[in-house]
Amino acid sequence: MEYGPSDSEPGHDGTEELPTAIKILIAGGFGVGKTTMVSSVSEIEPLRTEEVITDQSLGVDDMVGVEAKTTTTVAMDFGRITVDSGLLVYLFGTPGQDRFWFMWDELVYGALGAIVLADTAGWPTASPPSTSSNAGTRPSSSRSTASTALGATRRRTSGSPSTSIPTCRSCSATPATGNPAKRS
């Protein structure tokens, strides 16, 4: 579709032609393959944007020893799927380190759903961790993404069928047999 700047009236008239964007998060611990999944399903070259953390991160980021450092950057990988001319789906790989959890506030807001990736090879027991402690409790030694499971959507959407998580063919993910998280 052509969106020539000269066709649009100044102001907000052009918004009628603009596609609507929705957001799906790809969450999971450090190194489970979020970036891999984004790059597998995205129609564009996966992009990376950075957000500068300023004093917002105080108390979240451990600044001991680096007190002089007042800013740091967090990278987010994201991809895009164009459903049709009026609907864009953006996939955001959230930062896996738990010290970047404050970013969830903006990332989660308005998200249609989330896909939680977990590395089953690293689990010491059969019971998977809940989403709320996923990033923090996962052993950092397990980097293998060979047996990555696709978790459930974090945000319940009314009217959405329970089988709404599509199987990702191009990455080595398989749907989880059970809901890994015991959250309400």
């Binding site: 649009s8 609507t20 957001k23 300023t54 895009r80 308005g110």
Partner: protein, 123 residues
């Protein structure tokens, strides 16, 4: 100290100009609130103009096609927070149009949900 003639900084040293220097120190948009996936399109040609920085012009050039804030940030290689301030400048000049992402209230639309599911399955 003697200059070696070579490049004395590298990627890992970070940007030479601090990010918010581009916005003259502003860290928040003055008026509008931009989401990472707000879709932006230019409504004016990117021929510059008084008061426009090169970054503004670059954004206008990128936004000939609809682009999300996150995509713009990635293409201009600036943090999303900086890009939001620059976009607010452009919006106040009526140089861009912005569409906010679908809110939760509108998510109950089953047709949209089905379109998303079918679209992803068709990949």
């Amino acid at each position: 100290m003697e200059p070696t003639g070579g490049v004395w900084y590298d990627e890992s040293a970070g940007p030479l100009v601090r990010p918010y220097a581009v916005t003259k120190g502003r860290t928040r948009p003055a008026a509008a609130k931009f989401d990472l996936i707000s879709v932006v399109i230019a409504t004016q040609p990117a021929d510059g103009g008084p008061g426009l920085e090169p970054e503004h012009v670059k954004i206008l050039q990128l936004c000939r096609q609809p682009l999300s804030v996150a995509e713009i940030a990635a293409h201009v290689n600036l943090p999303a927070g900086v890009v939001k301030v620059l976009l607010d400048d452009l919006l106040q000049r009526d140089a861009i149009a912005v569409r906010a992402p679908m809110t939760r209230a509108r998510q109950s639309n089953k047709r949209v949900l089905k379109a998303v599911i079918n679209g992803i399955r068709a990949l």
